[in-house]
């Protein structure tokens, strides 16, 4: 029973409240009934799980850590645990939920007008509408301050021009939070699907996050009413605040992918016989398992530690960087090491680790690359910025 043995070693449940465990177990139950059996096919065929949105909404998963407007209002730790279960199935699914809740809904919840909140949040929470978040551009990734998308006043309207790249849910979204440069600095706008001049095209031939839609958005003289502007968002700090939210979920999520890789591989190594014995019995294999388990326990404890700080309202962005840097880096190492134990069998979609590893390539890069998070930590320690 590798699963039970691993859970007993990690033994993290004792640090969780009944409510946190109940939420986590509900997510795990739902996913194992409705998603896990299909995920390898979805990945292979590049199917993004948008049809699941109403089901996820019914559970309360979408924008779960936000208050009011149909959102469940759970703790940050509960949100993290849900991300962990989602990403244990696939990072694409977790990305969908992160973007919906922490980027799209959070940006409206935090920076939107009362009318914008009333209009969008209940349908986004229910999964009846899908949201996206457009900050990155083809020429401006790690340094979004240089963005070239612009919005200019025309009477009381705004006219938006430019393009965004690598936008999760972009072509399936009913509303996109778009960040553009204006005379007053970086400003956020809600752009509904179908607005004239707004088009989306999916990024083809992806080798990672295949069960998630990634799109390029183009804005060609897109006319928006004054009411489309997010009134409380001022400057680049606004989108960066949203990213910090989504990143927090990744700290937990990455450990879900790691745990699932480890479990799949423990199972395999138990039954795979070479040289007349299960490969789980070889010392080299056991060393890999021991090292990976250590990193999973450490990563989960770090995630929970940061979650408790967030629930106390005191989590700093550089602490989020610490968690994202460590947990994604370790998770991708674990997924790759698991693949080695699976041997040739590990290169197919019959086993999850290589799918997780491929997904984690994106996770390593989006929401701030590992290099950028390293520099954030460096700056927090030394007071010196090494960016430019």
């Amino acid at each position: 029973m590798p699963g039970r043995n691993l859970a007993a070693l990690i033994d993290i449940d004792r640090l969780l409240s009944d409510e946190e465990r109940a939420i986590r177990d509900t997510v795990a139950d739902f996913l194992s009934d409705h998603v896990r059996p299909n995920i390898a096919d979805w990945y292979e065929n590049a199917v993004s799980p948008k049809e699941l949105a109403p089901e996820l909404g019914k559970l309360g998963l979408l924008g779960m850590h936000l208050e009011g407007y149909g959102c469940a209002g759970t703790s940050a730790v509960a949100y993290g645990l849900a991300c962990q279960e989602l990403e244990a199935v696939d990072s694409g699914l977790r990305s969908f939920v992160s973007v919906q809740g922490s980027l799209s809904m959070f940006s409206i919840h935090h920076y939107g007008s009362e009318e914008q909140k009333q209009e969008w949040l209940p349908q986004l929470a229910a999964g009846d509408a899908i949201g996206a978040f457009g900050l990155t551009e083809a020429d401006h990734g790690s340094d979004p301050a240089g963005m070239s998308t612009r919005a200019a006043r025309d009477g009381s309207d705004w006219v938006l021009n430019g393009s965004k790249m690598w936008i999760t849910n972009g072509s399936v979204a009913d509303v996109v939070t778009v960040w553009a440069r204006t005379e007053a600095g970086i400003t956020g706008f809600l752009v509904p699907k179908g607005t004239p001049g707004f088009t989306a095209r999916d990024v083809p031939r992806k080798l990672s996050l295949r069960a998630s839609t990634t799109s390029e958005l183009a804005f060609d003289n897109v006319r928006l009413p004054a009411s489309a502007q997010l009134p409380e968002a001022r400057g680049l700090r606004a989108p960066l605040g949203c990213l910090s939210e989504a990143r927090f979920g990744i700290i937990f999520g990455a450990m879900g992918a790691a745990r699932d890789s480890l479990l799949a591989t423990l199972d395999y190594a138990d039954t795979r016989v070479q040289f007349d014995r299960p490969i789980a019995g070889f010392q080299l294999t056991q060393e890999k398992f021991a090292d990976m388990t250590l990193e999973v326990v450490k990563g989960m404890l770090l995630a929970l530690h940061l979650g408790r700080i967030k629930d106390a309202g005191e989590l700093r962005p550089e602490q989020v960087s610490l968690g994202k840097l460590n947990n994604v880096r370790e998770a991708i190492k674990i997924a790759r090491t698991c693949r080695t134990i699976l041997g040739g069998a590990g290169i197919t979609l019959d086993y999850s680790p290589m799918r997780h590893a491929n997904n984690l390539e994106s996770v390593l890069t989006y929401e701030g690359t590992s290099e950028v998070h390293t520099l954030v930590i460096g700056q927090a320690l030394t007071g010196l910025s090494a960016y430019r």
Binding site: R4, E19, A22, I23, T26, K58, G60, A78
Partner: protein, 263 residues
């Protein structure tokens, strides 16, 4: 007249059906420690049936369980699905209780409540006796509607589709009634996060044998009407025989099945 219905759903906490289950060698009773505990699967469908009835007709669903203190987890789950309140009968003296004792204790608990319908799952995955609903009907004098796959209520008349070899028959009774439902009656809902958070604040009453006026020395393993005299663990799985298909795979499989008297 009272508005809506009072429904009691009986829920049993059992060891996870998918796990390696065992008995304890000390007294041949269920080993609850080494396995995760879950709600007996078909009981979730009884909860669902109860919730749908009150959604249609108004009223309350009380979840009743007899079991160790830990069974409160199963009650909480039912509350998070939407049940109104919980009732746990927990007493160390009930360890090893047989089904006859269980029926007596639950009937006693029911006599302290106002109820129109008791819903239960058809059987539990650990004991698999499937007689508790009938025993309860006998003990309470309520109508007995077992093996139901569909439950409808009109006024004080309850109708169920009772599954039989030929298909099903429709049985009606007036409340109060004891109804047991089968696997596949309806898909049980997942608790919502709001439901989980609200469940914490819902009332859960815990009683012991004294509270129910039952003498502790009349129940438990020593007075059980049935006893497990011995048990053996399942033999370890034998290595399977691999059949190599050299164009005659079908014949080889047929021969194998015939040799095991399966054909």
């Amino acid at each position: 007249m009272r508005l809506g219905m009072n429904i009691v759903v009986l829920v049993k906490q059992v060891p996870d059906t998918w796990a390696e289950r065992s008995l304890k060698s000390s007294d041949n009773t269920l080993d609850r420690e080494s396995v995760d505990a879950v709600i007996n699967e078909v009981d979730e469908q009884a909860i669902e049936a109860g919730l749908r009835l009150i959604e249609a007709h108004g009223g309350e669903v009380t979840v009743l369980s007899m079991g160790p203190d830990r069974a409160s987890e199963s009650i909480r789950k039912a509350l998070s699905m939407g049940a109104t309140k919980g009732f746990l009968i927990s007493d160390a003296a009930l360890h090893g209780a047989c089904v006859m004792q269980t029926a007596t204790v639950i009937a006693k608990a029911l006599s302290t409540m106002e109820w129109d319908i008791v819903l239960t799952g058809g059987e539990s995955t650990d004991a698999r006796l499937a007689v508790l609903p009938a025993l309860l009907a006998e003990a309470t004098g309520a109508a007995q509607l077992t093996q139901a796959r569909k439950v409808t209520v009109e006024g004080s008349t309850v109708s169920v589709e009772r599954v039989n070899e030929a298909g099903y028959s429709v049985i009606q009774a007036s409340t109060p009634a004891i109804i047991s439902v089968l696997e596949g009656t309806n898909e049980a809902r997942y608790p919502s996060f709001k439901g989980i958070m609200a469940a914490k604040k819902k009332p859960l009453q815990t009683v012991n044998l004294g509270d129910l006026g039952i003498a502790a020395d009349e129940v438990g393993l020593a007075h059980a009407t049935t006893a497990v005299t011995s048990f053996e663990n399942r033999p370890p799985r034998q290595a399977g025989a691999a059949v190599k298909d050299e164009g005659d795979g079908g014949v080889k499989i047929a021969d194998y099945l015939a040799s095991r008297k399966l054909l």
